[in-house]
């Protein structure tokens, strides 16, 4: 075995998977996982742990895998993470744990994400009980939003004996995990539904179809006797570019497109949600959301193109997704920025006018700022444009709750360590606080808030 090389991962053939919604990556089997685990040096001062936003003791769980003690590995991860089957699939490992792994200096870093995924899947398949529930302590906590932040916070508190109810606006629990990230990257029944089930098994109640701020307000929740409230309501409203033609037929946000396909199963015969898929689809943006939208439209039969204003190097999406998108035949038009959406007299999209960009001086964020190349205008023919430009916060909860303050961007203000907002006994975390970020950060915020809520309520 060459210690510098990763154990290869099995994947669906790109030509085949470009036409189906089954998971792209097939994961390690037991032998492969153990073989990959053997590569780990079990460093005394492990760099990978520093790269992990929730500081999972990575060498410790990998050491268990080496011994084929899969249950032990699962228990080790469970000390830090509530959603390992999800994170093993969607974390940007290349900039976190794997980016720091010392093996990466001369060769390839340990496939930490794939090992995490293997461990979590094994533990789910074998129904391993990872936590005990303490006896009920008589205190009630309400959690708003059933995304990674809310589910994690609810799970941790339930384990400590709190009676926890999650209120979710949509008809299904999971947040972005159900309506955003597609099936081919994160299987809904096998992984997400299972994680939600696990949380329910701890005694957490999930009330779907309830919008906090509309159906019930935060003040009413307190009146109903909840002792504390955690807000994990997610990133909010999709942004648009404000260029001409943007309200045309065939222009939609990635959120709308992905929700129709994922949550409402627009691609399945027996579901009723209409989904209009173009023959030539342009997705504007370069993040994970853009990659998901472009690869989904490709799978629905479109010629699919990314338009992104910076270069290939700067694409913010996970490296694996970009790699997969290329293999599947997605066209990348980088250093390109749309200026207008062209529309026929019926109001339907016919194309997108763009200009070429080049990278100039670094801006405040340290990223090199794209500037327009003069006289570089050109048109890409298309009949659908999907905007994937990020989000701005949803004012529903903040505007209906007294004493809950937001920052200049409209995100809820919450303390780093505890998630405490500007209102007593109200905590918040995840995208609602940080703006669109990652599953692991949302999960971490849910964990921190659960610990803070427990500290506060048990001192009473």
């Amino acid at each position: 075995m060459d210690r510098m090389k990763r154990t290869p991962i099995r994947e669906q053939d790109p030509k085949v998977r470009a036409t189906n919604f089954d998971e792209v990556c097939l994961g390690y089997n037991e032998e492969e996982a153990v073989q990959e685990a053997q590569r780990c040096l079990t460093c005394k001062n492990p760099q990978c742990v520093k790269g992990c936003p929730v500081n999972i003791n990575i060498p410790a769980f990998i050491a268990q895998l080496k011994e084929k003690n899969f249950e032990g590995a699962a228990k080790e991860i469970a000390k830090y993470s509530a959603l390992p089957a999800v994170c093993g699939r969607v974390c940007p490992q290349e900039t976190q744990c794997e980016g720091k792994c010392v093996l990466g200096i001369k060769g390839e870093p340990v496939s930490i994400g794939k090992l995490e995924r293997f461990t979590a899947d094994w533990s789910n398949e074998n129904n391993i009980k990872l936590a005990e529930v303490e006896p009920a302590n008589g205190k009630k906590v309400a959690v708003i939003g059933a995304g990674p932040a809310g589910l994690t916070c609810a799970g941790d508190l339930a384990k400590k004996g709190y009676a926890v109810t999650i209120f979710e606006a949509l008809h299904k629990a999971g947040g972005v995990l159900v309506y955003g990230i597609p099936e081919f990257r994160l299987p809904k029944d096998k992984v997400v539904a299972k994680e939600v089930e696990n949380i329910k098994k701890l005694g957490v109640k999930i009330e779907t179809n309830v919008i906090i701020g509309k159906t019930i307000t935060i003040d009413e929740l307190f009146e109903e006797g909840y002792d504390a409230i955690f807000i994990g309501s997610g990133a909010g409203l999709p942004k648009f570019m404000n260029i001409p033609g943007e309200t045309a037929n065939g222009v939609l946000s990635a959120n709308e497109f992905l929700t129709r396909v994922n949550l409402m199963k627009g691609f399945k015969e027996e579901y009723d949600t209409p989904i209009h898929v173009g023959k030539k689809v342009v997705v504007v943006g370069g993040g994970n959301v853009a990659m998901d939208a472009v690869r989904t439209s490709l799978r629905l039969g479109a010629e699919a193109t990314i338009v992104y204003r910076r270069g290939m190097e700067e694409l913010p999406a996970r490296a694996e997704e970009i790699h997969h998108a290329k293999e599947e035949g997605v066209i990348f038009n980088t250093l390109t920025n749309p200026t207008e959406i062209l529309v026929d007299d019926q109001g339907n999209v016919t194309g997108i006018k763009c200009v070429k960009m080049e990278l100039g001086e670094p801006d405040a964020s340290g990223r090199r700022k794209p500037v327009v190349v003069p006289n570089s205008e050109f048109v890409i023919d298309c009949d659908m444009v999907i905007m994937s430009l990020g989000t701005s916060p949803n004012p529903l909860i903040s505007s209906s709750t007294k004493g809950l303050e937001t920052n200049a961007h409209g995100c809820l203000i919450a303390q780093d360590e505890t998630g405490l907002t500007t209102r007593e006994n109200v905590y918040a975390g995840g995208d609602a606080v940080t703006g669109a970020a990652t599953v692991i950060l949302a999960m971490g915020a849910g964990k921190h808030a659960a610990a803070a809520i427990d500290a506060k309520l048990s001192n009473k």
């Binding site: 997610g234 309200t247 709308e256 409402m264 209409p274």
Partner: protein
């Protein structure tokens, strides 16, 4: 949860239902809407709240069968349960937010076109219950599509009914009716709430702009989540992109881009039509009709 308590067929294509949804009934206000989901695999259908009974915990909805999902809803019966019923969504009507002094200044005319009488009704009722006067114009293409006439008559001072074909009431559209009321009856108004088909609202707004009557319209664009997450419901108001589900559904009618909004409404027309065919014809649908592309 979400049991159908009462079902009434108002015309051959319009139905009224009382749905058991105590939380929505408790917090809902005139002008707001709900989203219904028939079955686990169903579409999310936005419908304006027509009435609320806080004691019984029911919410009244009125809908016209336009696509597969509304046909399916119409086929459900008293005692059946809806898979989902979410709300109240959107902002409450302007009128409800106004002070007593402001409301006393208002001479309000409601214009309801077709199923638009459903969302107009709770607003007129609210005015009536709070001791303010209002008039209502109720218009439709033909007599058989006039709904909620008796209910509206009870809560307004003057009800003016008109039909395009003259089969009932005044012959003419709501614009003709409004001119008639102002010119012949000497009425004057300074506030109009106009709800109905997009094309009717467009022309009513052109008229009220001429007449200098402030006009509020209620839009029902395509929606998915109804909570401000997807952007499907965006409309151009005063040149700015607004999300009808959080910023609306009511907007200043003189600032709405109706032409753009009407084009957007047609996006899913063909797919919806196809789903409707599949639903109506079930297993007997073979795609030979030439309308559906065989899907």
């Amino acid at each position: 949860m979400y049991r159908i308590i009462k079902k009434r067929q108002l015309t051959d294509v319009i139905y009224l239902m009382d749905i058991e949804a105590p939380l929505v009934a408790k917090s809902g206000l005139p002008g707001q809407f709900v989203i219904t989901i028939n079955t686990e695999k169903g579409e999310r259908i936005p419908l304006t709240i027509c009435d609320l009974d806080k004691e019984k915990g029911t919410v009244t909805i009125v809908f016209q069968t336009v696509g597969a999902s509304t046909l399916e809803l119409a086929a459900m019966n008293e005692g059946d349960e809806l898979f989902g019923f979410v709300g109240p969504l959107g902002k409450a009507s302007d009128l409800i937010e106004m002070s007593d002094a402001e409301l006393k200044e208002k001479k309000v005319i409601f214009i309801a076109g077709g199923v638009g009488s459903a969302p107009v009704y709770p607003q007129a009722k609210w005015m009536h219950e709070h001791g303010y006067k209002c008039d209502v114009i109720l218009g439709a293409r033909s007599k058989n599509i006039i709904i909620l006439e008796d209910e509206l008559r009870k809560v307004c001072d003057n009800l003016y009914v008109c039909t395009d074909d003259g089969s009932y009431g005044f012959k003419g559209n709501v614009c003709d009716m409004l001119k008639e009321v102002i010119n012949k009856e000497g009425k004057s108004y300074n506030h109009c709430v106009c709800i109905g088909p997009m094309i009717m609202m467009k022309f009513a707004c052109l008229l009220t702009k001429q007449l200098g009557i402030k006009t509020i319209v209620s839009l029902n664009p395509i929606m998915v989540d109804g909570t401000g997450m997807c952007g499907a419901c965006r409309v151009l108001v005063d040149g700015k992109v607004k999300f009808a589900c959080v910023d609306g559904p009511e907007f200043d009618g003189h600032l709405v881009d109706f032409d753009g909004a009407m084009k957007r409404q047609r996006i899913y027309a063909t797919e919806e039509g196809r789903a409707k065919l599949r639903f109506e014809e079930g297993a007997t649908h073979h795609g030979g009709c030439g309308h559906c592309g065989g899907k």
